[in-house]
Amino acid sequence: MWLQLLVNAFSLGSFYALIALGFALIFGVTHAFNLAHGELIILSGYLAYSLNVGLGVPFWGVFPPCMLVLMALMAALHGLLRLVKEPFELNSLVLTFGLALVLQNLMLWGFGADYKLLAAGGSAFNPSWLPVTVTRTQLVLIVLSLVGTAAVYLLLTRTYLGKALRATIQQREAARLAGIQVQRMSLAAFGMGGLLIGLAGPLFGRNAYLHPAGGTEATLIAIIITIFAGVGKIRGILIGGWLLGLVESFTAWLVGGSWRELVSAVILIVLLLKWPQGVLTGNRTRTLP
């Protein structure tokens, strides 16, 4: 029983991490607080649904088109945000909030108000030596969250592009003075964020459900985990997702489902008071990019 709960909690946490990865990367590099993040995930989910249910494309086959389309959309959003005047943080917040509403209504018009599911195919794994069931969806979530996090982490730490991105995250002006083309880094972050959003969309449709108004929850999860991890801490996203999944699952198990959000919110407040820069950044103060 406990083992099953643990598997479910890690799977839920992996789902949360996948939702948050794109948001954290874009926010870290550009400081754009993308309130349309959840709606873009839902849009990717609807695209996957159309391909899978409408055109019969197998589930694995929907990922490349979803990722490419979302990458293109995020590049377009980057272009739009370049037009935003100072104060950038506040104005980007307002603009992406408006974009979220536009996307919600467009999806309502295009896909209707009915709830859609991406069917979870394949049989579950039931190892004879363990009293636990791991479904295909759970396995996919855990594996993809690990792969996604590792890929972004390696890119940031082992490549020139990654180093330039990190420099932009740490000190935007210093990066500019060092010859890094900050605008290009922003575009790269938006593009990579788009790929990650495109990856999260089909999984959202498979693990939860698709509805034009369903993106708000996803945006909130992404914000919470990014705050928890700290800006630019990609490994922290996965750890944050897992911790949130564990806290929610064990709270629901021990005291009931209605307490899960409350306990998570209290923990978040405590974390913010104690580690305002994010848990994994330690206590050192740092100027945000």
Partner: protein
């Protein structure tokens, strides 16, 4: 008129004629002016799927009435507003409809969190409001609200549901999971009391926030406790996730009952074979209609399909029935030669007796329907079949097949 004009100067005569023409044309204009009906529903947001269904039912009823010549020779104008599935927006929209749009009455509404505040506004501005989907007892109990009416009632859900569980399913242990909304909470409390009276062991009662996407801890507890009947007072989206997780975690149940959200073609379409064996409730379906209204029901289904390209759902029928109640009241007031004031309409609604495909609609003194009762349905081989009460049943209830 000729007599009246005698003895007046030519200028005064012209003025008299102009005044007479103006007043006569005004009277003609008033006679032909549309009667404005205000409608509020969640057309966007989390509840949009059901809000749109209710809206379509209301719109169909109004268009039907307009096609039949309107009310007292006046066409009807439906002024629709979207509450975005938010209570505060619902209140603003209702106020705007009453004060700025000058509607004569209000109709629509899904979920008591929205219907409740609108009903209070209706009382304040003396504007009749017929809610399409409302259950909370507090809205009609206690201080009477003579301007609030609804076509559904909690008793119409609780009574058949509890009797079905006790008489037909006969469970060993029951668990109730409910959304943290007023109607769902009250339904759960009511069921709990009835099961307690019947000495039926209730293993657990839990609530959840609408929008939750992970029910696995609860389902593991259900499995651990040996629960064989699970009643989920949530909505369509919650059932989609719950049923999937139920199967993934292999929770063996005799019956999964979702009073709201299961008995919908869109639900069975999304879940496919996984929906087989689930039990839901509905007040109307093309094959589950009030005796004596089969022909009217069929006409409505055909007309609705022509208009919207789909078969109406039980929720659409709630919208249709609430609009029909308002239209009948307007008709009565017009026939008596009175103006459609709030008082006159409220009085007409109280004396109404309509036989509609969903129910025979009469309101009691508190504004609740007298005979509303839902039917238990089970999805068997992709079809939604009535299984209780016995006089309306088309099939026997079958325990859920084992989960693979």
């Amino acid at each position: 008129m000729a007599v009246a004009l005698r003895g007046l100067t030519p200028l005064k005569r012209i003025l008299w004629v102009l005044l007479w023409v103006a007043s006569a044309s005004g009277a003609v204009a008033a006679a032909a002016a549309p009667i404005r009906i205000g409608e509020i529903n969640p057309l966007t947001g989390r509840l949009a799927n059901h809000g749109i269904e209710i809206h379509e039912g209301i719109l169909y009823a109004v268009e039907e009435a307009n096609a039949a010549g309107g009310i007292g020779g006046r066409p009807l104008e439906l002024v629709s507003r979207d509450d975005q599935s938010l209570a505060e927006v619902a209140v603003n929209q209702a106020e705007d409809l009453i004060l700025r749009e000058h509607v004569v009455d209000l109709v629509g509404g899904y979920v008591d969190a929205m219907v409740g505040p609108i009903s209070q506004l209706a009382a304040r501005y003396r504007t009749p409001y017929v809610a399409s989907a409302s259950l909370q007892r507090a809205l009609t109990e206690g201080r009477p609200n003579p301007y609030f009416f609804r076509v559904s009632s909690l008793e119409g859900v609780t009574a058949p549901l509890s009797r079905f569980v006790l008489e037909v399913v006969q469970p060993g242990k029951v668990a109730i999971l409910h959304a943290a909304t007023p109607g769902a909470t009250e339904l759960s409390q009511e069921l709990r009391e009835r099961f307690d009276q019947a000495k039926l062991p209730l293993a657990m009662v839990e609530k959840f926030r609408p929008g939750t996407t992970d029910f696995s801890p609860f389902l593991l507890k259900v499995r651990e406790a040996g629960v064989d009947v699970l009643i989920v007072n949530g909505f369509l989206a919650d059932h989609l996730i719950l049923v999937r997780q139920l199967r993934e975690l292999r929770v063996p149940l005799k019956a999964y009952i979702g009073p709201w959200g299961v008995a919908y073609p869109s639900f069975t379409a999304e879940l496919g074979a996984a929906a087989d064996g689930l039990v839901g409730m509905c007040a109307w379906d093309p094959e589950i209609t009030l005796a004596g209204t089969e022909a009217e029901s069929q006409r409505l289904v055909e007309g609705f399909r022509r208009r919207f390209g789909k078969v109406p759902s039980t929720t659409s029928m709630h919208g249709y029935s609430s609009a029909r109640a308002l239209l009948a009241a307007l008709q009565q007031v017009a026939a008596s030669g009175r103006q459609p004031t709030g008082e006159a309409l409220s009085q007409a609604l109280r004396g109404l007796d309509l036989k509609l495909p969903m129910e025979r609609l009469q309101f009691d003194a508190a504004g609740d329907p007298l005979t509303y009762q839902q039917v238990m349905v089970q999805i068997q081989n992709g079809r939604m079949l009535a299984v209780y009460p016995r006089e309306r049943a088309a099939a026997e209830f079958k325990p859920m097949p084992p989960l693979d």
